[in-house]
Symmetry: C2
Subunit: 155 residues, 2 copies
């Protein structure tokens, strides 16, 4: 909203939906564990329901992770014990990026952001507005196939 001056940007759920569809598609195509990949994609921004979205310069690194982990614990505290354990483990797997599925979803999160920024910037008539989002995505994506997709939305 701030960086693109938009009144009605996508919701966090819109972003998570498309990230989850991309996770499903890539995971299915690569024979990964789709249940796991999509679980991580559906959960990855759930803490924002409590702490809101933030720009990297406002909140990043360990402070962001700690804040979101605390929010996730609060959300999960409403769940039955066994579900709580499963989703807590999934969340930690996501933030630590220790599995192929979690590394994939972490990169898709950035790719989806860059694609969405590209779409908004084009609608606004000033594609350069998406530059900052694209550079941030570029810094976080190593997967070669995803880099090809990212190159297609270069501002």
């Amino acid at each position: 909203m701030k960086k693109l001056g938009m009144e009605h940007p996508e919701s966090v759920a819109d972003h998570s939906y498309r990230t989850a569809v991309m996770a499903m598609f890539v995971s299915d195509a690569r024979g990964l564990d789709t249940g796991k990949a999509v679980r991580l994609a559906l959960l990855h921004d759930l803490p924002e329901a409590l702490v809101g979205d933030a720009m990297p310069e406002e909140r990043s690194g360990k402070r962001k992770t700690d804040l979101e982990t605390k929010a996730m614990e609060e959300i999960l505290s409403e769940l039955p014990h066994r579900s709580r354990l499963l989703y807590r483990e999934a969340w930690l797997e996501y933030v630590e990026g220790k599995s192929e599925e979690s590394r994939l979803v972490r990169q898709l999160d950035k790719l989806e952001m860059a694609i969405q920024a590209w779409e908004y910037a084009h609608e606004s008539g000033d594609p350069s507005k998406a530059g900052e989002f694209w550079v941030s995505a570029k810094e976080h994506i190593q997967d070669e196939e995803l880099l090809v997709l990212l190159s297609q939305v270069e501002p």
Copy 2:
């Protein structure tokens, strides 16, 4: 938008996101195939990207399914062969409701709609507005646990 007189209702992606989270949660809790359940939830309204959302009195039954199946074929035609087969099969599984996962997601689709209508109606100060949505959900839900949830959003 028409029935609740809303300017900025949830997007189809918002609805699909929450349906997918519910599918993940129930599927995980019941030991079903979460990858499959979430795949069906993520795909179930994708045809609306082409044919739009419609009210039941505008489009329902076989005509709705045929139109959506055609739209799904069009969307899937962009994909590699193997992915196309996988998602075509998933779509048919969803519309035919032949697996436990597909019957679950079909009911969650209605439950999510009823919950969302309830939330909107409460925000608008006239809870009765959600009545029609609730009755429609009630007609389609047989699962006992989901009926308990539905009873909690009775207008």
